[in-house]
Amino acid sequence: MKIFLLICWRNLWRHRRRSLIVISSVAIGIFAMMLSMGILNGVYYQAIDNNINIALGHVSIQARGFRDSMTLRNSFVPDDVLIRALAVQEGGTRGYAPRLKMQGMLNSSESSKGVIIVGVDPAREKSVSNIRSYVSGQDSGTFLPDAESNQICISRDVAEKLDVVPGDSIVVMVQDKKDEMVGVGMTVSGLFQTPIDSINQFTAFVGIKRLQEMTGAGDSISEINIALKDRNRVDETKAAIVRAVHDTSLAVLTWKEMAPYLVNSIMVVDAMMYVSFGIIFITIIFSIANTLIMAIMERFHEIGVMKAIGTKPSWIFSMILFESVNLGMIGLVAGIVFSWIVIGILSKVGINFSFHFEAVRAFGSGAVIYPIMRWTDVMAGAVIVMLTTVMAALYPARKGARIEPLEAITFI
């Protein structure tokens, strides 16, 4: 078998330049694939991280029906059992925080704006959310000082709409436990600006105890958000929490279940990318097939001699197939190595997409994207190249296998 592989390998280098062109086309195709997937991965991962870190958490325990109707009716009191259940998960949990969420209206002397009012405990919130870090920049004020203060933290977009700055007062209107509207004047503590457009447009933070007090909710909360040390453990953590909580009135949801739009859009974009890679590699199929057909016509006489001295057609077929796969594999390795170097550098320095910021912000990622090369993409690339090279070689290999030895050895 060694000789057989040697023939394949050495045949590749008989026309060095021609082989290098094919190898380069595969390598460039792979690089294009890895870079575009890397950028998309960067966008996804940042979007997922941002959504998890700012809004969703990895896992949320909430009253059943809360996601359909964000009212106090769908709230619950976290009892000791629940707290103990969370403590069980402490090993894999980075932190957890209670939140009380409801729809409300913000009114200033200039305007009004409908938002989701999120009551948080700033001390606990630090362990699950980095919203505090987005209150930055000149004249931004500060995040909420504590859970009781009569202050509200709103986004720059909302502040602009209401025409207020930190220190100004606005009226916060929400529905209380008796389904009656209550309005409370609050001071704007600070302004945040996250990479997620929907958060900026429709979210405001207040102290959870102040919100409970305003609405007469007592100790009720809407959800407990849990941040994990390892994002890949959400499913097992969810299962463990479900077992520990053992309360059918509560729902335990992962970030994927809370943000299906994000998962679906990632899947759609992934599928579109793979279709475009398919198109790229179909063109490569013709390039490789063309090269192999040329190589076979040049070696017509030689293949005839090989058959004359007893080489079976299936061996000739396999030999040409091997040559094609060899070409593809060299291109694959070259492409992967080049991608690894380039993406490795870009993953440190990032690519600034600020010229396209609105689009990436709608997705929830930042303006600077840090590409990520995943092993799954490398494997996908390997499979695509393998399929491409085998498909490209089928016709030339069949042609080679069917060469008539007599015709070929008399061919000059």
């Binding site: 001699v305 080489t311 057609p313 061996w315 007599l406």
Partner: protein, 251 residues
């Protein structure tokens, strides 16, 4: 019964609607261990006959039996297998695999026969030593002279110890001295290994060395002459059979 039996073989070709007879009713028997040559002018049908004996071409009518196997009923796959196991080929243009070294070219046949690596290496090196190329085993064909390449081709043809070696104009591309040395080598192998050698040639020297000379003219045997013993030695035996042998040697 001979190792090769050709019975009333006819080979016709269609050429622009005309039927051309390359071989016309040839009957011939070659015995085990013969050192024979089929000679004749260009177009006399000697290569066509050799190709049919080697299973590379099929007769229009008649039968050919090689080592007890009747070729006409065999599939292309079986013919390939028969060529691999029973016949060694030596071609005019050497026809070595250009990307393989001398040893690898010889080993290739053994690889096709499914012989294990250790045995392959041992036999290919031994046979290359035998043909005087012990120091050239790692050279590629392009790094060797024509004579050396043809000796590798001979080594490749005999390494699997076939019953028959068919050599189509083996000296045509060689100079006089190299050609003679090659025939000496093949005759020695014929004597020592009892391999049957059948040449097609129009080289006078090869005709003189053959122990049996079969002359073809216009696709028919015009003379079949057995003159023993010769082979390695030059003799003054006449090969005059109504044509002047063409000496086609390149230096």
């Amino acid at each position: 019964m001979g190792i090769i039996t050709v019975s009333d073989v006819v080979k016709n070709y269609e050429n622009n609607g005309l039927t051309v007879s390359a071989v016309q009713g040839v009957t011939l028997q070659i015995k085990q261990g013969e050192f024979s040559a089929i000679a004749g002018p260009s177009g006399s049908g000697k290569t066509t006959l050799l190709n049919m004996i080697g299973g590379l071409d099929r007769p229009s009518s008649g039968t050919i039996t090689v080592a007890g196997m009747e070729l006409s009923g065999m599939s292309p796959k079986d013919l390939a297998d028969m060529r691999l196991r029973k016949i060694g080929f030596v071609f005019q243009a050497y026809n070595l695999i250009p990307v393989l070294t001398a040893r690898e070219n010889v080993e290739y046949i053994l690889l096709l026969q499914g012989i294990d690596r250790e045995e392959r290496e041992k036999r290919s090196i031994a046979i290359l030593n035998e043909v005087g190329l012990g120091n050239e085993i790692d050279r590629l064909p392009k790094e060797m002279s024509g004579g050396q390449q043809q000796r590798v081709a001979v080594a490749r043809a005999i390494v699997s110890e076939p019953s028959i070696v068919l050599a189509d104009e083996p000296t045509a591309n060689l100079d006089q001295k190299t050609g003679e040395a090659l025939i000496d080598l093949m005759h020695r192998l014929n004597r020592e290994k009892k391999i049957t050698f059948l040449f097609s040639t129009h080289d006078k020297m090869v005709m003189e060395r053959a122990e049996r000379l079969i002359l073809l003219t216009d696709g028919k045997i015009s003379q079949d002459k057995v003159e023993k013993p010769k082979g390695g030695k030059k003799t003054k035996t006449s090969v005059n059979a109504g044509f002047k042998p063409r000496v086609n040697r390149k230096r």
